[in-house]
Every structure is written in C-alpha cells, then in structure tokens.
Subunit: 243 residues, 2 copies
C-alpha cells in the first residue's frame, strides 16, 4: 500500500507521498511515489502514484520515453490543458495493465495516480486518475485528493483543508495526515516527500524529503501527539461526572 495526498488551494498546490512499497511483509522497499516533470518552462507537472509498482514504474517510463521520441508529438509537452495530460496518463496506465491482465488472467496490476500542476496561464489543478484510466478533478469545497491507504488520514483533512488554507499550513496538515496513516497502517512509511507549489510561479516549488529521523518531522509529530492528549483531557465532562 501507499498513501499520497494532493491539495488545490488558492495559493497553489501541495503534494505529499510516503515511500514504502510492500509485496508481502518480507518484501518491503523504499521507492519514491512522487515524480516531477519539469520538461518545459511553461509547465510544471507532478505525478503521485499508488498501487502495483510494476505498473506505476512502466507508466512513468513510458511518459519519459514519449518525451524523448522525436516521432511522437503526443507527449507531456504537447498538451495545452491539464485534463488532457490526465487522460494521457490514464490511457498509458490502462494499456500497461491490459498487457499483463491478458497474459496472466490474474489481477492486481491496478494503479491510481494523482496528477497535478500548471500549464501556462491556466489555473493550477489536480486530478485523480483511476485504474481504469478515467479521472476526476478535486471538488470546490473539499479541495484535496487521496490515493492508497486513504481513510486514516482523511478526518484531519476534512477538518482543516479549505480553499483559503495557506500552502505552509496545508503542508503541515498533509504531514499530520501522513503521520496518522503511518501510525495506524504498517504499509505506509517514511521517507515522506512534500512539495509546495505557488500558483503562477511555474518554478519547481519548495521540495523537502523527510527521513524517519528528520528533526522537523519528529517535532511536528510530537507536538501534535502531545497537543491531542492535552486537548483530550480538557474535553467537557459527562453530566454525571464530578469535577
């Protein structure tokens, strides 16, 4: 499993992903699930991936190969709208899965993606690409998308993330959401990658990779944990309780 989250805010975009992959509990590895494509000065594209590792790697390589192939114009740099890129990613993903599903009649090759970024003057945006290749945008009121092991980390996003939330605060919320997922599910693990992208900048944003022992990550996690316990102690008592 995996956990990735992306947010679309007025100030820009936030991406976070864990790095644990597991094909069984005795085959656990570290792979980045955040792929940044800075292929042309007019666009920034980020792809987060969850699901079958062979599929997600094949999709990323195909995208890279298309970019380097002078005979192909249908590549990341050829699209003028972000949702065309989402359709393109979905198409490659479905095709890759199709090859192996036909051959083996097994399943389990599925993969999900979050594509986010900005092209030229168009608004920065994020899309979730399903294993079938179809895709959706984030909603206006809850402007975040998740893939992988999504449930443990969702309640805090539901409470905190709004279109007006600042990039830094949203980034902290992504880390707290990741912390909840790592505590409750062994298949989500560090390093955590975090990318904050300021809308309109078309630069590579603020990127940070937090290792397990990262000082900031530990301080954040501790402050959150201590704060929750303290808050919990102050909750209103039942009517039948003494003081």
């Amino acid at each position: 499993m995996t956990y990735c989250v992306a947010m679309r805010l007025k100030q820009g975009l936030v991406f976070a992903s864990d790095s644990r992959t597991s094909a069984g509990v005795d085959d656990v590895s570290v792979y980045s699930k955040m792929h940044r494509f800075e292929t042309s000065p007019d666009r920034l594209l980020v792809l987060l991936s969850a699901g079958n590792l062979a599929t997600t790697q094949a999709v990323n390589s195909q995208i890279e190969r298309d970019l380097g192939n002078p005979e192909i114009t249908r590549d990341l740099n050829g699209f003028s709208h972000l949702d065309e890129v989402a359709a393109y990613v979905g198409e490659i993903s479905a095709r890759v899965q199709g090859i192996y599903t036909e051959q083996s009649e097994q399943n389990g090759f599925g993969a999900s993606f979050i594509l986010g970024g900005q092209i030229g003057d168009l608004p920065a945006d994020i899309f979730l690409v399903y294993p079938a290749g179809n895709y959706i945008a984030a909603s206006r009121d809850k402007p975040f998308l998740q893939i992988g092991e999504t449930k443990y980390g969702k309640p805090i996003l539901d409470r905190i993330i709004e279109p007006d939330t600042s990039l830094e605060r949203a980034g902290r919320c992504a880390l707290v959401s990741m912390d909840a997922s790592m505590r409750s599910n062994l298949s989500v693990g560090p390093p955590i990658e975090l990318l904050l992208y300021k809308a309109g900048s078309l630069d590579h944003g603020i990127y940070h990779r937090f290792d397990e022992n990262d000082d900031y990550l530990q301080r954040l996690s501790q402050a959150w944990s201590d704060g929750l316990k303290e808050l919990f102690m102050k909750l209103p008592r039942f009517d039948w309780e003494g003081d």
Copy 2:
C-alpha cells in the same frame, strides 16, 4: 455500514455503537446495534453487531429464543466462560448465513459482532466474532476492538486508549472516534449508544443514548473541533517560514 467499538480497561468495559443502517442510499434506517442481555444476576453480556441486518437480527432472536426454551441448556445462562459465549454467537451467525448462502448463491450475508461482559468472578472481557464464526480477544497493549467502518475512528483510539484509561475518558474517546467516522462516512450516523460498565459490579452500568441534537454530544464535538483547529495553528513552523 456501521461503526461499533468496545474497550477493555482496568476499570471496566466501554461499548459504543451508531444506529444507521443502509441498504442503498435511498433505504436508510435507524436500528440499535447494541444488544444488552441481563438474563441472570451473575452475568452481564453485551453484543454489538455490524454487517447484514437480517443476519444480525436473526442471531439476536435466536439467542433470545434459546433462552426461553426450557429444552435447551446451551444458552447464554448456561456458559461459565465468556469465550464459550463468543463461540456460541459465532456458531449461530455462521449457521444463519449458511441458510441464505445455500439458497441464493449470492453473498453479502456476513456479519461481525463484538461480545463483551463479565460472568461471575471471572475478568470482564471483550471478543470480536468474525463472519466465519471464529473469534479473537483484544490485545493487552491496544485493548479495543472495532467492527464496521473502522478506519476513520482508529487513529484517536491508537493515541488515547490504554489499559489505565478511566471509563469516562475512554467513553469520551469512543464518542470522538464516532464523531470522526460520522464526518468522513455517511453510512455511520446517530443516535449513538454508549455503555460504561464498571468491572466487578455485574450491574447494568451507565447507559446513554445520544440523539443527533444531544446537548453534550454537540458540546463535545464542538470542543474537539475547535481544539483541533487551535492546536493545528500552534504546530511548529517549517524552517523556511517566517514567524
């Protein structure tokens, strides 16, 4: 779906359950999922249920019928250990599911249960009964069990619940866990039933049913929500941020 949680603490047991059942989004009802059996002065037994409503109702009625049948000695009052009761519940549940699975070749009749209580001088305990009829006890370090839509409400239990947690604090934690589940999943809904049972008392404990507009539930939910937002604002800032 449903969400139920039970805890086994040094002070006693805590049970909480929601009341929403849905057979599709246009067929949503309110049913209690907490069944208390106070059938004999030497024991208190509580059964929380999740899954197919026809199955869980059939299991509860069969238990009641066995109790009223003078020809049957294998009933709730006949067991001297709680884990025998868990096996008995699992047996009835598997049998009920078997009837319909054979007839229709469909599936979806599965149900899970949490059985908790105390018999005589033996320790109070809780068990999770799986759809297949087998069952497990709570672990020593994480002394809670959940059934139904369990993930959203798990992180706060992981952080707060320990064997030493007081009954009232654990009860509040169950309500906060329920609140997180209701916010993130439409299939979990009020009224919320809460039962606090003091170990060794063999009485019917402190029972409360919180409607949607219950004053305490609203104050608790508001205090938690406000406190989380406040806590969030105080989290350590990134190194690159100003003050």
